[in-house]
Amino acid sequence: MNELAVNARVVRALGMRSIRQTFRRPQLMAPILIFPTLLLAIQTGGAGGAVHLEGFPPVQSFLQFMLAGAMMQSLMLAGNSGGIALAVDIEMGFTDRLFTAPIPRYTIVLGRLAGTAALGLFASVWFLAIGLIFGAEIHSGVPGVLIAMVLVTATAMAVGGIGAAIALRTGSASVVQGLFPLVLVLLFLSSAFFPNDLMIQPAKAIAEYNPLSLVVEGIRGPIIADVDLGELGAAVLAIAGIVALGLLLSARALRHRLRVG
């Protein structure tokens, strides 16, 4: 077996472990599915009339609009949970087992991210299914579903990279867990839960430059309208930027961990 295939097996094995770990530890699973589902239900039930506001984009229903936000919340928390799980691994010494194996160290991070991506994929299927069950239409049909699934999966992996970098740098689950409120702040300062045009300053300006808004609009676009390649391209670029940042920070954090032990 060539080295690439061996490394791919390692990434798959570590990714599978990461998924099992999430499903076996309810406190990691709850933020990924239960909280965003509850928030989706509360917001849809309580603020559904917002679709009639002037400046609200044309949508079939508030649920249709909110699906992208729920998926974003879920994937952000999946990335955060992945970081927490990695930090727990560091705290209990499990990463020492990985660091003493004859594998490239990037496979350790990629394995964790593969698991986070799989959870992102699962979340996208979950929320699209909820949307369809409760009457939301996916405007651009199957291509829209596929685009949403791919973007959510890729973003989960990208955000997971940032979580992994923080976990590797600090080695502390409580520090990564402490970022939970920041994740929500970043989301609320994007167009995840409310259209940018209806926001007031300074939130509006922040949301406009928040890369998460670009990702949200990329996911939401094919759900509420036809596929817009410009919107899609912007989302892909934003995800690529987050991936690059996550990989850079993770590589630096890995080197730091080796220096300090």
Partner: protein
């Protein structure tokens, strides 16, 4: 070719020099005991030799590979069971060994077969599909050891493998270490238990405050420091007076507590009557008196001026099997 060669190895953390110029050589196929109290630099040394930590000075090779420049080749040659068993409580024992097999590059079928063999070897077949979090401390250590053996490593690092275990579990680990060594595996064993080093190691290095203070076979080290000592427990009265009397017969060793006097005597058992008479003449009552042949703790005392066993007791909470 030696299995491990260490030359002037150093590691500092900010201003603290945790390992200060360690030199040692471990022959292929031997059990090498690395003995020292908590904080002596044992684990830091092991972490450098297992490529988990970069040295800040000196060099080391393991299985002929440099631990800095050829770290991946080192990792392919070693098995590691660290001080805190590096286990995921949410995995089953079988999942962990299979994951380890994948990490070591074994094909799937070979990994499954090897996992079954190792779980049987460490007597964990029945618990193999239970989550590791439900295992006792002894079972976790055995699983950790099994995981370290997946790829039949040339050199096995065991960092305090029996700390916190009950005597039965400790003996089981010892038997497994001996069996591995008989199969030709070189074992680098750190421990703070004198008996463990005495029982298992072909050669011992004693490390204290980051420096090697003695090295050799356990017998040679004990012979080097020479004489046996008399250990006597006072029934009552001042230890200072008893020490004054005993000092006339032999050389006083540092006391271990407020009731025990240790005095090194040149002629062993023949000196007991002299000590008894001297104490009796001084009116000092004694609860018990025992002739103790040199141990590795005596070697430790001779080389460092303090007791290893006492430091361990002071530093550690009571060791209890989970």
């Amino acid at each position: 070719m030696p299995a491990i060669v260490v030359e002037g190895l150093e590691r500092s953390f900010d201003e603290v020099l945790a390992v200060q110029g360690v030199d040692l050589e471990v022959a292929e196929g031997e059990i090498y005991g690395f003995l020292g109290p908590n904080g002596a630099g044992k684990t830091t040394t092991v972490r450098m030799l297992t490529t988990l930590l970069l040295p800040t000075g000196g060099r080391a090779t393991v299985a002929g590979h440099d631990v800095v420049g050829q770290a991946r080749a080192v990792r392919a040659s070693i098995g590691v069971a660290l001080q805190e068993a590096a286990l995921d409580p949410l995995m089953t024992g079988r999942e962990l060994i299979r994951l380890q097999a994948t990490l070591q590059g074994l094909p799937s079928a070979a990994g499954r077969e090897r996992a079954d063999q190792l779980l049987e070897r460490v007597d964990l077949e029945e618990a193999a599909d239970r989550r590791v979090g439900t295992y006792s401390g002894g079972m976790q250590r055995r699983l950790d050891l099994a995981a370290a053996l997946v790829h039949e490593p040339r050199v096995l690092f065991l960092d305090e493998p029996t700390t916190g275990l009950d005597p039965v579990s400790r003996k089981t680990i010892w038997e497994e270490v001996r069996a591995l060594n008989e199969d030709g595996t070189t074992v680098f064993l750190t421990t703070q238990y004198l008996e463990e080093a005495d029982q298992l190691a072909d050669n011992v290095a004693i490390i204290d405050r980051g420096r090697i203070v003695a090295e050799g076979t356990p017998d040679a080290l004990k012979t080097e420091i020479g004489n046996p000592h008399i250990q006597l427990q006072l029934a009552e009265g001042s230890i200072a007076k008893a020490e004054e009397v005993c000092a006339r017969v032999g050389r006083l060793l540092p006391p271990v507590d407020g009731r025990t006097v240790l005095v090194e005597v040149p002629d062993g058992a023949a000196d007991i009557p002299r000590v008894v008479r001297a104490l009796d003449d001084a009116g000092i009552a004694v609860d018990s008196l025992e002739l103790v042949r040199p141990t590795l703790d005596d070697v430790f005392v001779a080389k460092t001026g303090h007791h290893l066993e006492k430091e361990r007791e002071d530093d550690e909470p009571e060791a209890v099997e989970a």
